[in-house]
Amino acid sequence: MKAVRVAANSSYNNKYGTFPHKDWLGRPYGSKAVAKKGGGWVLLLAPTPELWTAVLRHRTQILYVADISMVVSMLELRPGAVVLESGTGSGSLTHSLARAVAPTGHVWTFEFHEQRAQMAAKEFEENGLGGMVTVTQRDIEEGGFPEDMHGRADGVFLDLPKPYKVVPSAARCIRADGMFCSFSPCIEQVHRTAEALNANGFRDIRTMEILVRQHEVSRQLLLTDLDNPPAGPTKKQQRQAQAAAQRAAKRQKTAGGEGAAVAAAAAEEGTAAAAVGEGGAEGGAAAAAAAGGSSKPQEQAEQQGEQQQSGPQQAQQAQQQQRQVVHKPVPFGRGHTGYLTFARRVAA
């Protein structure tokens, strides 16, 4: 998955072929675009904050969908709200904050690191968020939020090494009944932050973790007749199943790294398009399924292989084995992203 900025005179190249952007213009999002030569194709998807998070350039550790969802929900953001963020980092959360407060609200986001602040500002502008997001280079831990933010924020979000230093400034910025959130990987930071919140006019202090576990879906043949196993020995099937699992795991890994794609915003003539997934003629649905586990065509091929191998015993085999759709968690995933600490500003 890749973010592509569409320009009429530009083209996108990958191992599956060359895709002139002008072929994309005017086509609806969600379409498949075919390469100039060969059968390679890409899917053109509309950018969303979630897809952007999957393709953006990591300048720092970023927040992912589960934490983002909780932050937006528990900060009680809605169109028109004003939210302060520090630091901007890679801008992953910023996109979701902007979606939540658009079109009449505003995200004031602060980043200590100069280069990062500039890169983020450029991306927000390019992604059409320029009017709703303001990036400022500032050392929030030392200087707090600017005084002109006092009393203006419906919510404040901190992702800083020492959030507890910023709590008094946050208390001055957040209106009565407004929400505070801090994201910290280590419990010691959380501890100091909670203590500072309790002492600075916050209540309902809650610390939580949210993790998302992805499940992979597959079809399995389970042996049911234990005295008369099918022609293909169980052991061989197990090896196949293991090999399939390893392939699936590999796909899963690549899905994170280079899998299906997205993104990109307004280019010439106000047009926007994006590419999700890429595939050669032979690898049909691979890209489309990259985020969904294994790809169906491949699996069907495997199944056909099995059936051909068992040949005439097919009917008998049906009695000896049971085909079942099953799911299980993908083996490796995130074990921790950070602790989310929320608190509500005490009413006057």
Partner: protein, 456 residues
């Protein structure tokens, strides 16, 4: 600490206040939440009795109330920092109490029940009673610090009654229902709701289709995120299965959200069959109009979108292109509503706002009706969804979603198929007592998410 405590006094900038007719969440001790519409006559429960809610009017949301000294009325109380943090946390050996000689016996309280009643009658604050109970417990001093804490908490729940007035939002309403009457929202957990809204890409410009059996919570939370009438044509269509004659299910939770009339206008209720008919009609109209640009300002149904120009393609990108030009003005939108439509009829009781809300195609879809086969429901609503729409399906059971994923995979109708499960846990963070809460909810359910592809 002293300097920090002083900061408490610094008042916050004013926030929203409780107005006549508002629904509030009346949260007693964080244990029990009730949704109450506040006016001069309504009453709220504190302890075992009901009291007039009149003192709430005009108070800022977040205000705390307790009983007046004579026990007859509610009065506002000021928040003070929790004492939990006054313990020195740099002395590792402070909790030297151990339970070594403690004999299991409940007759260790020297304060009699009559004495406790007398304290209450004389207007003693709950906190004073708890302190007296601890002081008069023969075993309190011998308890471990851990047990002392538990003891005080238990007594505090019994004798201190403080209620907080909370503003209803997607998060607070979801948590209140889940804690007090989860069956009414079909056990939808607040984090799962938050994930559904994110994965379905709900925002101000979204045209959201919701099919739910969660009492309307999902529709209301989605409407809150779209801001209601903020963007013309955006909003939430809350639909149900069962053909044109099916009875509308109970979806009234939106009434607790204090939506303005304008916001409420972004919400419509309709059977799925009506929406499908609208999509068919719009498609026919588009076909009659040919392949050129549409002139009538009507929203493009999906088939038209496929042959439409860049502006149509821009629709789905709106969530990230907040300054793009939305199609159609609000008046046109309203003019489109045929009078006496089914959903308008069904909104007569209490539906003050005129029927508005989005028409197909939708660019965002949340399905949270676990009693319906997810595969059947997804295939049923696909004709209503715009290409590149974001789709999120909730079920408490993984298997029906897994089978739907299996069936949809590789069919070219959707991409980015994923089956996710959230794991949500809270922690107690206190000096020397930091740990995840001892109990947790394991039932966040499962979410199938996908991006809709253009029809081939």
């Amino acid at each position: 600490m002293a300097a920090a405590a002083a900061a408490v006094a610094a008042p916050a900038a004013p926030g929203p206040v409780v107005r006549e007719g508002d629904t509030v969440i009346w949260d007693v001790n964080g244990d029990k939440q009730a949704l109450v519409a506040v006016d001069g006559r309504s009453r709220v429960k504190l302890g075992t009795a009901f009291f007039s809610a009149a003192p709430l009017l005009g108070c800022p949301y977040g205000s705390m109330f307790t009983l007046s000294a004579d026990g007859s009325t509610l009065e506002r109380t000021q928040y003070t920092p929790l004492p939990d943090w006054d313990l020195p946390d740099d002395k590792p050996d402070f909790n030297t109490r151990t339970n070594d000689k403690l004999v299991q016996n409940d007759a260790n309280q020297t304060l009699s029940a009559a004495e406790i009643e007398a304290m209450k009658a004389s207007g003693a604050a709950g906190a004073d009673i708890v302190a007296a109970l601890a002081a008069n417990s023969a075993t309190f001093a011998a308890k471990t610090e851990f047990s002392q804490e538990k003891y005080k908490k238990k007594k505090a729940k019994k004798y201190i009654q403080i209620a907080t007035v909370r503003r209803p939002t997607g998060a607070t309403v979801a948590e209140a229902y889940f804690a007090n009457s989860p069956a009414k929202t079909n056990y939808l957990r607040a984090d799962t709701l938050a994930l559904l809204l994110t994965l379905a890409n709900v925002g101000a410009h979204a045209r959201v289709l919701v099919v739910e059996s969660c009492g309307g919570l999902v529709s209301a939370a989605a409407l809150e995120r779209t801001g209601g009438g903020v963007s013309p044509g955006s909003g939430v269509a809350s639909a149900w299965a069962g053909g044109p004659t099916a009875k509308k299910p109970s979806l009234e939770i939106w009434r607790s959200f204090n939506f303005s009339q304008q916001q409420r206008a972004g919400l419509r209720f309709a059977p799925l069959s009506t929406l499908l008919e609208e999509a068919r009609q719009a498609q026919q109209a588009a076909q009659q109009a040919g392949n050129g640009q549409q002139q009538d300002g009507q929203r493009q149904p999906q088939e038209a979108v496929q042959q439409d120009g860049p502006a149509a393609a821009g629709d789905a990108a709106e969530p990230m292109q907040q300054d793009g030009q939305p199609h159609g003005s609000e008046q046109q939108q309203q003019a489109e509503q045929p009078p006496g439509r089914e959903d308008a009829q069904q909104q007569t009781a209490g539906g003050a706002a005129a029927a508005g809300g989005p028409r197909p195609p939708f660019d965002s879809c949340i399905l949270a009706a676990p009693g319906i086969s997810p595969l059947a429901l997804v295939q049923h609503v696909l004709p209503l969804l715009a290409p590149s729409a974001s789709l999120a399906v909730y079920s408490p059971w993984a298997q029906p979603l897994a089978e739907a994923l299996d069936a949809l995979r590789g069919q070219g109708q959707v991409a980015n198929l994923a089956l996710s499960e959230a794991w949500w846990r809270e922690l107690q963070v206190l000096p020397l007592r930091t740990h995840p809460t001892m109990n947790m909810n394991h039932g966040g359910g499962y979410i199938l998410s996908a991006t809709v592809l253009a029809h081939r």
